[in-house]
């Protein structure tokens, strides 16, 4: 994998990204703006599950208000993330934080999709009261996205953060 990443870094596409010096800060800024939309969408949905925000609104309404923003911002975030990774594949592949972050993005996305399914199920039963399990998943989903943000920043500090665990 590391060899593949190093080879990827020498491909014309990667070199083209690396040589446009304004591209990385530009894409990183868009990436951060998008995580703002993704994170706050998840935060509001989670707070609704806990009954701490928009409690006067049925859950399906809250979900349908935020889900399109969550999914669109997620797509832009993935797209900018892919280009950023292509621009420095070896740095990413060598960072333990990068691999944990990618795993958590899968977890955080599945977890958000779970709430979407909850809506469909609840619409059938005509109820939107949430069980302890759903509340726990709401809190865990917010925690996962916070961890994703932390790991995104930690990629630049792999040795400092992971010490002897870092992939070298």
């Amino acid at each position: 994998m590391l060899e593949f990443a190093e080879w990827l870094g020498t491909t014309p596409l990667s070199v083209a990204i690396q040589s446009r010096l304004w591209l990385t800060p530009l894409l990183q800024s868009i990436h951060i703006l998008m995580i703002g939309v993704v994170f706050v969408s998840i935060l509001v949905v989670a707070l609704r599950v806990l009954g701490r925000m928009r409690a006067d609104e049925p859950f399906p309404e809250v979900w349908h208000r935020f889900a399109p923003w969550f999914w669109s911002a997620l797509v832009v975030m993935l797209a900018t993330g892919i280009v950023l990774t292509l621009g420095e594949p070896a740095r990413e592949a060598h960072a333990l934080s990068f691999w944990i972050k990618m795993s958590l993005v899968v977890v955080g996305t599945l977890s958000a999709a779970y709430f979407g399914r909850t809506v469909a199920a609840a619409a059938g039963h005509g109820t939107t009261e949430f069980s302890g399990g759903a509340r726990l998943i709401a809190v865990a989903t917010v925690a996962v996205w916070l961890a994703i943000i932390f790991l995104g920043r930690a990629i630049a500090y792999d040795v400092e953060v992971w010490g002897s665990w870092h992939l070298g």
């Binding site: 800060p25 530009l26 951060i32 995580i35 703002g36 994170f39 706050v40 943000i149 630049a156």
Partner: protein, 180 residues
């Protein structure tokens, strides 16, 4: 007003020295700064969208304002504290960073926009609170706010590429782009 002595003092402080030498402090402070600023942006963006009349919501402006603003201010406080910590670490160098001062200026402009909105436009909120499309002044404040906060995020990222925590970059280099 010459702020350089103050920046020198910040740079020479024991806290700044500790942040520079502790291996784990910087990534943690930086990550909290990112978490805080995305929360500031995301919550403000929601209120701004409501000011622009999107979506055609049943939810009144003051409801959204009330439920989101505590998150915005909490996160802003966190962003300010972590921002000062980030600044301290390399204060004298940041003092010469154009992107940093531009960012401070744009935050100030966003603050003025907010004060004008809260002090003038929002006084008549009762007449447009539930309406789908708020008056022009309110929509203008919302649009300006989005524009200014997007700029803040861009400038923040630009600081890292012009002068970051990398001490190897000479101080007089303006646009280096080689640090993370």
């Amino acid at each position: 007003m010459d702020l350089l002595p103050l920046f020198q003092q910040l740079h020479d402080s024991a806290l700044s020295e500790w942040l520079r030498t502790s291996l784990k402090a910087m990534p943690i402070v930086e990550a909290i700064h990112v978490m805080a600023i995305v929360t500031v942006f995301g919550t403000i963006f929601l209120v701004d969208l409501r000011l622009l009349g999107y979506p055609h919501a049943k939810r009144s402006f003051s409801q959204m304002h009330h439920e989101l603003l505590r998150w915005t201010w909490g996160a802003f406080g966190l962003a300010a504290v972590t921002g000062v910590l980030l600044l301290m670490v390399n204060a004298v160098t940041y003092y010469r960073n154009t992107a940093l001062w531009l960012k401070m200026l744009v935050i100030l402009l966003a603050g003025i926009n907010m004060l004008v909105f809260e002090g003038v436009t929002a006084k008549s909120v009762a007449s447009w609170d539930k309406g789908v499309t708020p008056p022009t002044a309110a929509r203008l404040a919302g649009a300006l706010s989005i524009l200014l906060w997007v700029t803040v995020i861009f400038l923040g990222r630009w600081i890292g590429f012009t002068k970051g925590y990398d001490f190897a970059i000479p101080e007089d280099v303006q646009f280096d782009f080689s640090s993370p």
